[in-house]
Amino acid sequence: MSDLGDTLTPSKESQELDSVVIRFCGDSGDGMQLVGTQFTNVSAAFGNDVSTLPDFPAEIRAPAGSLAGVSGYQLCFSNSDIYTPGDEVDTLVAMNPAALKTNVDDLKPGGTLIVNEDSFDLSDLTKAHYKSNPLDDGILSSRYRLQRVPMTRLTRDSVAGLGLSQKESDRCKNFFALGLVYWLYDRDPSPTLRYIEDKFRKSPAVLEANLRALRAGTNYGDSTEAFTVHYHVAPARLEPGKYRKITGNEALAWGMAAAAKLSGKRLFYAGYPITPASDILHELSSLKQYGVMTFQAEDEIAAITSVVGASFGGSLAVTASSGPGIALKSEGIGLGIMTELPMVIINVQRGGPSTGLPTKTEQSDLFMCYFGRNGDCPIPVIAAKSPSDCFHMIQQALKIAVDYMTPVFLLTDGYIANGAEPWRIPAIEDLEPIRAKHPLESNGNGDGYLPYLRDDRLVRPWAIPGTIGLEHRIGGLEKADVSGNVSYDSDNHQLMTDIRRKKVAGIAESLPLQEVEGPEEGDLLVVSWGGTYGAVRTAVQRSIREGKSVAHTHLQYLNPFPKNLQQIIQSYKKVLVPELNTGQLRFILRAHFLVDAIGFNKIKGKPFLVSELTQKINEVLSS
């Protein structure tokens, strides 16, 4: 490996940059997610701040070379902290014509365009609906720094003699591309070398081939005339500590495992596979030794109702799904609310309505989570703002659920779920365990256990089966106050309805106060929630730097709202609510605070661009 090391000593001029956006794109079969992840790891390990945006093709795998089959992975790495994977791409690596066609528009004028010219043959060109070869018509080369690299051939050459089939050899070309970009951005490939050695331990030939391809790519950059300069991005000044890269779904799984472990309780997780929530189930199912029981249910209805059963039994119970699956859980969630059992429902939002756009991100399920049940059926709703924030918010969700004996909705989205960012590894002792109390004695002095006798926060006790003398029955019919028996009494129904409402509203007492970035009063307040945090924060920060009277407040707690939100909202002349939906939070804010909030709504299955937001902010300010 040492020899490989040398090849990296810059033999060409190197320029300093603050931050760079790279996108790898190619056919689903080209391993773009892999190289994207590798580049992310390498940059993170080097100390840059990193933000990523994987973009898979739709669930159906399309034929090789087709437009529908293109898979992309974008990442931004920087010497200061960043919150988005970037608007425009500095360097685009396109492994085939289809990838070029679907991605080149995001490359900034003058940007570097690296293509695998070997794949621009007739068959691939036609699959991408190109009439002629775009590499030849001069347009691309006039607009970008076009680099035509015969990757397939060079890769084959580099691995020749290892006895690999051509198919196997060609599989290495993603590492060739990676090696080239490593050179271009002066990266230390060690983590990737470790990865390759570990991943392919079992097949030495393939292992060696990938190492060679990687090196060949690096050498190509270093030796050919094509590349005259390469670039350097210094480490970022992040909060000191030990870091790792984490995706939103990983963070959710680990947060649950942590909660279980720390509270000494069994975690019961029930899910039915659905994009983009499935990975939570996958991740958790390999954490059994952390006290995690995973249940792949026959459908979402079984998932939520099994969670009701597990919660009745005393487990920390969680289920996750996305749009259509959450809709199916509505009735079961209602049962959870009537029985006042703790549980968390995670909604990893995707494009809707109906089956919609399964692999695209969106924020359009807020209404459903808020209102989508029969009857007056209030539920706490909270939302994570970034991949790493998922770790914190799932624990918050479980804490609220257990402290208040209620189902809780935690919203994330496809962008957070699959996106990755550096995560400062917490010390276990800094994590707060969830404190569940299960009564052992009857509260009914004499006349039996009273499951609906509440404390001053209107919370009922969580007695579990196996406890002598606390035998009781609960269910979905209206309950008599205190005794919990079935009751058809009118006044009791009014009382219980009010109690359910007040209990959830009362959670505001235990929530952190809402914070504001920027001036405490002024012309414009931008209110965001969920996965748009990074883009909105970046945009507002820029406006502030430009001296504009703009502030940003990001809501993690959506029902109930933090106590001071009203006062905050009233402190600005205008309120702008950017959302990846048609204006759902905006609608709720208007109803709550009678504020004429302005909406900025994008429903394209993609996150906001900072530039879009900046433009909208300026527009609103100057109107």
């Binding site: 993170a44 019961f268 009745f312 590894i425 196996g466 035998e471 609960i474």
Partner: protein, 347 residues
């Protein structure tokens, strides 16, 4: 197996329980002469014999007249939502293998809206006792036909007679890989009590169909199996290892024909040893399936335990897997988990 449960449960000496101990303080709200009363009575009779403390027992139900059952038992209970009792119970059993869990359901609750969970709980062989009160009608919603109502049934929703063929609950259960399948009758109290007891002792999903008279909306449909004077001629009472003989005079029996189908023969012609002998332990469910196809009035109808075989339970296997992994890798170490893979330090 309940022994096992109690081992796993509290180690206090077991109190001696009586049926009364299992009665809750709730006023019972079934119609006069509803078959449910009799089933409730037999259940209260059987439970004390199991040697399981009542705080270890949970009754889970869906929605229906039958599903009100848990309110009348002084054990833990969940009156769930319509059709979902098996799923609720699965979640509870997976997380609390120490509990004995009974699922009480109706023909509509389990076979109409709940059909999918019914299928999956059975194929998973979750250790639950599922008692289905089959009155061939939706009682609680005041009398619409159900998936077990015979063709041509006239109800509020089928004034001209139903045109969709019913299912045979036992066939459905056997088709779903059931390990324990039985049938009994609400008012045949000895037989019912014995059958419930067999179910209680089975480890795995024990499915019992109970013919239950809905005295208001579908009265008398099970008289053929309920009325003392006729039932012996209409029903075959299955006993493991014994030949299939029936009739008030016990003068008729069952034989398999060349296609493997049961046929009625007279003991005048055929001698006992040539009859079909009941074997509830057969690995292959085909014979049990064939017996389940015998329905009154076309043929005499078997009652009792059709099938009772051993197969690992889902709750058992799932918990053993967790145990195994934990033994192999040691209890999870969070810090190690967080530090796994690529990490880096920022000073």
């Amino acid at each position: 197996m309940p022994m096992k449960d109690t081992e796993m449960s509290t180690d206090v000496a077991l109190p001696v329980l009586t049926p009364k101990d299992f009665a809750s303080d709730q006023e019972i709200r079934w119609c006069p002469r509803c078959g449910d009363y009799s089933i409730l009575a037999q259940m209260k009779k059987v439970l004390p014999t199991l040697g399981i403390p009542k705080e270890k027992m949970v009754f889970v139900s869906g929605i229906g007249c039958s599903s009100r059952f848990p309110y009348y038992m002084n054990t833990y209970g969940v009156h769930g939502i319509h059709g979902r009792a098996p799923a609720i119970a699965t979640g509870l059993k997976l997380s609390r293998p120490d509990l004995q869990i009974w699922v009480i359901t109706g023909d509509g609750d389990s076979l109409s809206i709940g059909g999918n969970h019914f299928l999956h709980v059975i194929r998973r062989n979750v250790d639950l006792k599922i008692i289905m009160f089959n009155n061939q009608i939706y009682g609680l919603t005041k009398g619409q036909y159900s998936p077990t109502s015979p063709l041509g049934t006239k109800t509020k929703s089928t004034p001209y007679g139903s045109v969709d063929a019913p299912v045979n609950p036992l066939s459905v259960a056997l088709g779903a890989e059931a390990t324990f399948v039985a049938r009994s009758v609400d008012v045949d109290i000895k037989h019912l009590a014995a059958t419930l007891e067999r179910a209680a002792h089975h480890r795995g999903t024990a499915f019992v169909e109970v013919y239950q008279d809905c005295n208001v909306f579908n009265p008398g449909v099970f008289d053929f199996a309920a009325k003392k004077d006729v039932k012996d001629d209409n029903c075959i009472y299955l006993e493991h290892g014994r030949p299939l003989i029936f009739g008030a005079k016990r003068d008729k029996g069952i034989q398999l024909n060349s296609k493997g189908q049961p046929e009625v023969v007279s003991l005048a012609q055929v001698k006992e040893d040539d009859l079909l002998f009941h074997d509830e332990k057969l690995e292959d469910p085909s014979l049990a399936f064939a017996l389940a196809r015998m329905r009154y009035p076309e043929s005499p109808e078997p009652l009792g335990v059709f099938r009772c075989v051993d197969r690992p339970t889902y709750d058992g296997a799932a918990n053993q897997q967790i145990q195994r992994i934990t033994d192999e890798r040691g209890p999870g170490d969070l810090q190690a988990l967080f530090n796994s893979g690529d990490t880096w330090d920022v000073a």
